[in-house]
Amino acid sequence: MSTYFHSIRIDTEKCEGRMKCLRVCPTQAIRVRNGKASIIEEKCIDCGECITVCPNSAIVPLTDPFGELTKFRYTAAIPSPALYAQFGREILPEKILSGIKKLGFDSAFDLALTCGEVSFAIQEYLRDYKGPKPLISNACPTVVRLIQVKYPELIDQIIPIELPRELAGREIKKKLSKQLKIEENEIGAFYLTPCPVKMISIKQPAEKGKSFLDGAISIADVYGPLLSAMEGIEKSSYRKALESICILGVGWAMVGGICRTLRLKNSIPVSGLAEIIKVFDDIERGKLRNIDFIEAYSCLQGCVGGSLTVENLYTSNNKILKLIETLEFEQIKACPDIREVRKLYSQNYFLIKGKFEPRPLKPLDTDLAKAIKKRKLKEEIYELLRKIDCGVCGAPTCLAFAEDVVKGDADLTDCIFDLSDNMEEFSQELSDLLNKTLPLNFNRSNIHKSKK
């Protein structure tokens, strides 16, 4: 059993080693060796970029099939607000929720309301917070993983407020078990997810607690059936359907939605991993201390851009934006009562139970002296390489290859180029350092034969 649960699996039958995933992985967690891709678990943050680019559909998101529903006496669907963005302007949450019920769930819960409560809770937390700034939203599990793995120093800046979907799962089970007089474990709470990464926050929460949800079903999987199910549902008047929408909550579907609807002054919305990395680098340098809150999503435009959504992300982003504008214009505020939220907040209703722990990447060596030596060797090896990042060795860049070599995970001969006459010398140094004997087959003519 491996230490880290991941929501991404590589189907080795389908994988043809075409290396698209190798190049796109933001944490360089993929290697292609012997023609097949594999994931370095320690480095993977479950962003799902590889799923999207794989031409063979060999990288599969791990979500639950519909069949899971039959395991429970009562089932509740909790759709991400990103689902509301998947349909045309006229189709409002009310109709979507009725449609979901026709798919076989006993109830469908409007998560936007809970999102609204959590927005208020975030506001409360920000007001009382005295520690280092900025605080970072925990809404996107990939962002939380990124911090755990690459920015462990920022871990205390992640907002420790429970996620809306978890709170909803917790409260639904509490309420329904009383109402229906059944056990909480007989109720299945399923999140309808825009991305596979939500699955890991259910199976292995970053704060090591237990999830209140029982599974996640892909929005892409429910889309077709839902579209048919919504046919023939009588809709109430547009105005009436609007009146049930919590403006604070629908904002959670897109990046900047929380900041915009709460009107947080000093906050920054950022989406896309490459951009997030730039912002986090700045935080580490001590910049951005005047910013209170960072709303970060690994998918472009936030959850509407998730890899398991259907609609074009700019169209769906626009739908949410227009919905918010309409609600603002019509002055509709179907939101939780802030006084009620404050009361619950003071009772720690919103705080997560566990604690976010860093899980930094292993250094080159646990012994500093050895690590220094390996780092120097890595630099020397890198200097030998062509630096064209061709990827043929199976590592995404020449630098990553040099690191794999000093870690003992790759062999210098994996590089297709003539390195230099120093190869033997290096290999000796390496085998001394790694305390192992390398297969010393460094006669170059041999190497090239084997490559061909």
Partner: protein, 148 residues
């Protein structure tokens, strides 16, 4: 200490190049993480080197950072060629700054740079020759006892 246990690397900084400012501190941060330096020291070191880097970008023609790490000590040496500092005592005061309006607009020049470096480092030395340049020695102890 034999040479093989000393990691030494040099980084050039160009004065006035705001577009690339911050790269040196990012590279140094990556190296320190890679060899397993304690995260609290990594963050103090990267804040210090970033402040120092920005000083070179803002005030000097060019500069050089030399990173040397031994199992005992992390040493960052910054040498720049530029206007230098006439009154070091004054420059070390919090809030003292000669930054232009434009630099302040960008969020720099609050007069916190040098004091901030000193605050973060375990040892800090500064020498400067006006008209020639400034040299900073920023040192962090890596064996537990010497830590701040």
């Amino acid at each position: 200490m034999s040479d093989e246990y000393v990691l030494s690397q040099k980084f050039k900084i160009k004065g006035g190049d705001f577009g690339k400012a911050g790269r040196t501190s990012t590279s140094i941060k990556e190296i320190l993480k890679e060899i397993g330096i304690d995260p609290s020291i990594v963050i103090r070191a990267s804040i210090s080197v970033y402040e120092a880097e920005m000083n070179v970008v803002m005030y000097a023609k060019k500069g050089m950072v030399t990173l040397s790490v031994t199992p005992e000590e992390l040493h960052l040496k910054l040498e720049d060629e530029g206007q230098g500092i006439a009154d070091i005592d004054q420059a070390m005061k919090e809030g003292f700054s000669t930054a232009t309006h434009e630099m302040r607009e960008m969020g720099f020049g609050a007069g916190m740079g040098l004091p901030n470096i000193k605050k973060n480092a375990d040892r800090f030395e500064i020498t400067s020759i006006p008209g020639k340049g400034t040299t900073l020695d920023i040192i962090f102890c890596l064996n537990k006892t010497g830590n701040k």
